[in-house]
Amino acid sequence: MSVILEDAIQELFIALTTRWHQEDGVLAIGVPQSKLLKAGGIQAPALENLLKELREKVSSLGLDVIEYLYKGERWYAIRSNYVAPSELTEEEEAVLAYIMSHLENCGERKQQVQLSTIKKKMLAGDYLTETQFDRVLRQLEHLGYIERHKQFIQYSCRTLLEFNESARKHIAEEAKQRII
C-alpha cells in the first residue's frame, strides 16, 4: 500500500475518533460525510474506498466503521465490536437505563417520554437528589445519549449506536423490575 494511502487512512482514523463538539455544545459522534470530503478534497467514491480500507484494518482490533443518518446527513464513526467500559458514571448509566425502560415501551412513531415522569421516579424513590438528577441529565445530553425537546426526552444517535435493539429491550426490562 502506498505511503499516501497509509497517511490518508491514518488521518481518517484520527478524524473519526476525534472528540469534538457541535455548535450546540453536544458531543459529535463521528464526522459527517461533507466534512470528510471537504477536508480531504476528494470525491465520494474515493472516500468510500478509504473507508473500506480502514474497515479492514481496524477489524482486527475489534473495531468497526459504522455509518448512520443524523439530521439528514450521513455520518461515519468507529465503534467497538465488543463490550467495553463507557464513559458514563454509575448514576448516569442507571438513569439512561430507566429512560430506556420508558422509551422501549412507546410505539415506534413517537419514542419520547416526559421529563417529569423520569424525574418523579428518581426523586421519589430516593435514588437521586434533584441536583444530582439535573446534573446527570445535563451530562447525558452533553455526551449525546439523549435529546431534550421542551419537556420531552428521546434517544439521541449515540444510544442507538452503542446499544442495539435487543440490548435496549433487555436493559429496559431489568430497569423496570429494579427501579420501583
Binding site: 476525534t18 463521528g30 480531504g40 452503542e162 436493559i171
Partner: protein, 244 residues
C-alpha cells in the same frame, strides 16, 4: 367367575384389603387425618366461644347466638372452596409474584438497585470510540497558508526588560536585639496612651514590621472602633504600606 377367584375375593374381603370391599366398619383406633382447612379452624373457634359463653351469658342470649352461629356455620362449610373459585385467585398469582419481587427488592437500598441497573447496562454497551487530543484534520485550502510565527522570543524579551526595571524596595539593615526590644517598648507605650488609639503617624519600616509581628503573636491587639455594624467583631489586620 370361577371358584378359585371367588375364594380369593372372599379371602380378600375377610382381610379387608380388597378394592371392592363393601365393609363400612371403621377402626376406632385408627384416626383419619384430613388436610388442614380454614373452616375447621373457624368452626373450632366458634365451638370454643360457645363453651365459654355458657359461663357468662344467659340462656336467652345463648339461644340468640346459637341461631346466628348456625347460619355462620353453614357459610363456613365451603369457605376454602369459595376462595379458590373466586376470580381473584388467578390474579393473586401475578400479584404474589410482584409482591415477592418487591419484598426482595425492599431489602436492598436504592443505591444498590441503581448499581444493579447500571451493571446491566455496562455489560451491553459497545461504545463508540472517541479520543481526546488534537485533531489533525486539515481543510484543503488551509494547507496553502504559511505557518504563524511563534512569539516566544518576544515574551522572553519583555520578561527581561521587566526584570531590569525592578528595583528592590526594602534595604536590609543591621538591627540588634536591643533595637528590637526598644522598638517594642515604644510601640507598647504608644498603645498604652489611649484605649482607642489609631496609628496615623508615619512609622519606619522596622517599627511597622515589629508592630505586625507583635500583633501576630498576640502581644498586642489592634482594634478599630467603627459605626458600621457589619464590621463589628471582625479582627483587623495590619497592612504594611511603604510610601516612597
Amino acid at each position: 367367575m370361577d371358584i378359585e377367584s371367588l375364594h380369593a375375593s372372599q379371602q380378600s374381603m375377610l382381610d379387608g384389603q380388597s378394592a371392592h370391599s363393601v365393609s363400612t366398619s371403621i377402626d376406632v383406633n385408627e384416626t383419619i387425618v384430613e388436610p388442614h382447612r380454614i373452616e375447621d379452624e373457624l368452626i373450632a373457634m366458634i365451638m370454643k366461644y360457645r363453651d365459654i359463653a355458657q359461663q357468662f351469658f344467659s340462656i336467652q342470649e345463648r339461644e340468640q347466638d346459637r341461631s346466628n352461629l348456625h347460619d355462620l356455620y353453614e357459610q363456613l362449610q365451603n369457605l376454602h372452596q369459595k376462595i379458590l373459585d373466586s376470580r381473584c385467585y388467578f390474579q393473586l398469582g401475578k400479584t404474589q409474584q410482584t409482591q415477592t419481587e418487591r419484598f426482595l427488592l425492599d431489602d436492598t437500598k436504592p443505591e444498590q438497585r441503581l448499581a444493579m441497573v447500571s451493571y446491566v447496562l455496562r455489560t451491553l454497551c459497545k461504545p463508540v470510540i472517541l479520543l481526546s487530543g488534537k485533531a489533525t484534520l486539515l481543510i484543503a485550502h488551509q494547507r496553502k497558508e504559511k505557518p504563524v510565527k511563534i512569539l516566544e522570543d518576544e515574551a522572553a524579551e519583555i520578561a527581561k526588560q521587566r526584570a531590569k526595571a525592578w528595583k528592590p524596595v526594602c534595604k536590609p539593615e543591621d538591627i540588634t536585639p536591643e533595637d528590637i526590644d526598644k522598638m517594642k517598648a515604644e510601640i507598647t507605650a504608644l498603645f498604652q496612651e489611649s484605649e482607642d488609639w489609631l496609628v496615623k503617624q508615619k512609622m519606619t519600616f522596622q517599627q511597622a514590621d515589629i508592630l505586625s509581628q507583635m500583633a501576630a503573636s498576640g502581644q498586642i491587639a489592634i482594634e478599630k472602633t467603627t459605626s458600621n455594624p457589619d464590621l463589628l467583631g471582625i479582627t483587623t489586620s495590619v497592612i504594611l504600606k511603604q510610601e516612597s
